[in-house]
């Protein structure tokens, strides 16, 4: 909001300084919020809800780290998520474009995309197994699908929302459809595409548990399911938290990318 109100003359700071200050404040708030959340969890677990306490979870995390399990799992899940997510968004962008641009493509693809978006990933596992077996392929595919379906809608909407005058300007400067796509539609719909990528990333992580139902040998989701067999709550919590933190980190990277990529926008 700082740009919208004139400050008193003494409160003068260079723009760079101001930015740094805002960033620091933000980080503080983040930390306060996280600490508050952990405190709430501690209170809940102490007051009789059958939850493991933070120290229990930390202890379990220590064990899982000591024997290397956590790192193997992390590497396995991260690889799957990264590949699935990358493929998903990479496909979503041209597909979203085709749908936004060509009525024929939209007419053919939209019903299916809408249809599959509502289908829970759990439900398509048998089908995926039939088609792809039990190796890495089907796991990555399930994650890919989740990321793709979340991202494609957003990209499509982005394409539809591109300012018509900019497209006209490009046409007038000699661009054909391919050029307009690469040089106008993609940059102009970057905000939408990045929303799609962020939502897709969330979906990819949220799907990792389902994906690792398909005969996984390791992975954070697999470990959680195994822990569920013994109702080993501390392990479940460790893996949940690791997934959450990884998701958060990757989201931050996307957000950072976005800030760089859309700095041309006049934003609040």
């Amino acid at each position: 909001m700082s740009t919208l109100t004139a400050t008193k003359p003494r409160a003068i700071a260079t723009p760079a300084e101001k930015k740094r200050r805002t960033k620091r404040k933000m980080l503080t708030l983040n930390i306060v919020s996280v600490v508050g959340g952990i405190a709430l969890w501690w209170v809940l677990s102490a007051s009789g809800f059958s939850l493991p306490t933070p120290p229990q979870v930390v202890e379990r995390a220590g064990q899982l780290m000591a024997d290397g399990t956590l790192f193997t799992d992390l590497a396995a899940s991260l690889t799957r998520v990264l590949i699935g997510f990358a493929l998903g968004t990479l496909l979503a962008i041209p597909v979203g474009f085709l749908m936004g641009w060509y009525a024929v493509a939209r007419g053919i693809m939209e019903p299916w995309i809408q249809f599959f978006r509502t289908i829970p990933p759990l439900a398509i596992i048998p089908l995926v197994m039939v088609l792809m077996g039990i190796g890495e392929q089907p796991k990555i595919f399930v994650i890919f699908l989740a990321a793709f379906l979340s991202c494609v809608i957003s990209t499509y909407q982005g394409v539809v929302n591109v300012d018509k005058t900019l497209i006209n300007a490009a046409r007038v400067l000699g661009s054909k459809d391919a050029g307009i796509f690469a040089r106008v539609v993609i940059p102009a719909s970057t905000p939408f595409i990045l929303v799609g990528m962020r939502v897709g990333l969330g979906a990819a992580w949220a799907t990792v548990v389902a994906a690792e139902l398909i005969a996984a040998q390791d992975g954070l989701g697999y470990r959680m399911q195994q822990a569920q067999l013994y109702y080993d709550l501390p392990t479940i919590f460790v893996n949940l938290i690791v997934i959450g933190i990884l998701g958060l980190l990757m989201d931050r990277i996307l957000l950072f990318t976005e800030t760089k990529l859309t700095s041309w926008q006049e934003r609040r």
């Binding site: 109100t5 003359p9 723009p15």
Partner: protein
């Protein structure tokens, strides 16, 4: 050039040593450098100057939409801290709400002021007629031509009846006749309703025709170059445009803009503002 330093007794607007610095790549760009100016109550000033000399920046600071990097801007003796409906603004880029019809755009400010529906409608229709958009009252901005959008923005700002009007090239996209009509209209309303007006324009004729004082700005850094008093009768008529006094003033303003720009890089040019 001493006129500009003469501070008024009770200025409506007082700009005191205002600077504005923008980051530009790794360096900084001085959009405004130590600008000082007092505008009296019920004064009509016009601002002219080369493209990029900081006219819009100055107006945005007065509107409370832009912070200062130094100095201060006062309205009624109080430092500007955010925008307010007593300061009406017409933006260089129109800034119509694209999802509202012309009428709803014009009614926007009245709705904010919780005016009853019937009255709102009456006032809106009045100003829509004033700018000649009756036929398009229910049209969306995307259906309007450039000049019609600008007229809609004018009607919207007039409707809230602000005591200060800040207008950024408001008639730039209008044809000659509409422009002349709206100029007369504005002058007339101003003389009746005791408003303070800050009016940015590139049209030297317009600047002279409307103003009590013409502020001529210079670029790099943005600063006030000269202030020209317009000592024409308070009531301006079309015939006056053809008078020798008018022509003389017009030429004086023209030269002020022209000369300064050609001497843009001459360091000997004295700064127009008081430190």
């Amino acid at each position: 050039m001493s006129t500009m330093t003469s501070t008024l007794a009770n200025p409506k607007i007082s700009i005191q040593g205002v600077s504005k610095v923008y980051p530009l790549g790794n360096t900084e760009f001085k959009a405004l450098d130590n600008v000082s100016l007092d505008v009296g109550d019920n004064e009509f000033i016009t601002v002219v100057g080369p493209s990029g000399c900081g006219k819009s920046t100055m107006m945005n600071i007065l509107a409370g939409l832009e912070t200062v990097s130094g100095g201060q801007a006062l309205v009624d003796g109080v430092a500007v801290d955010g925008p307010g409906p007593e300061r009406g603004v017409i933006f260089q880029q129109y800034a119509l709400f694209p999802w509202l019809t012309v009428r709803d755009n014009v009614e926007f400010g009245l709705k904010t002021a919780k005016m009853p529906k019937a009255e709102r409608r009456r006032i809106a229709d009045h100003f829509i007629e004033l700018v000649g958009l009756e036929q398009f009252a229910d049209a969306l901005p995307k259906m309007l031509s450039g000049g019609m959008r600008q007229r809609c923005a004018i009607a919207r700002a007039y409707a809230v009846n602000p005591s200060i009007l800040l207008m950024d090239e408001p008639f730039g996209a209008l044809d000659a006749l509409t422009r002349v009509n709206l100029q007369e209209q504005l002058r007339e309303t101003w003389s009746k309703e005791q408003r303070t007006v800050v009016f940015i324009t590139h049209d030297v004729d317009e600047a002279v025709f409307l103003a009590n004082r013409v502020i001529v700005m210079a670029a790099r850094p943005g600063r006030i170059h000269e202030i020209i008093e317009v000592d024409l009768p308070a009531i301006r008529t079309e015939e006056m445009r053809l008078s020798p006094e008018f022509t003389a003033l017009r030429n004086r303003v023209w030269n002020a803009v022209y000369h300064q720009t050609s001497g843009e890089n001459s360091v000997s040019e004295p700064s127009a503002t008081t430190a």
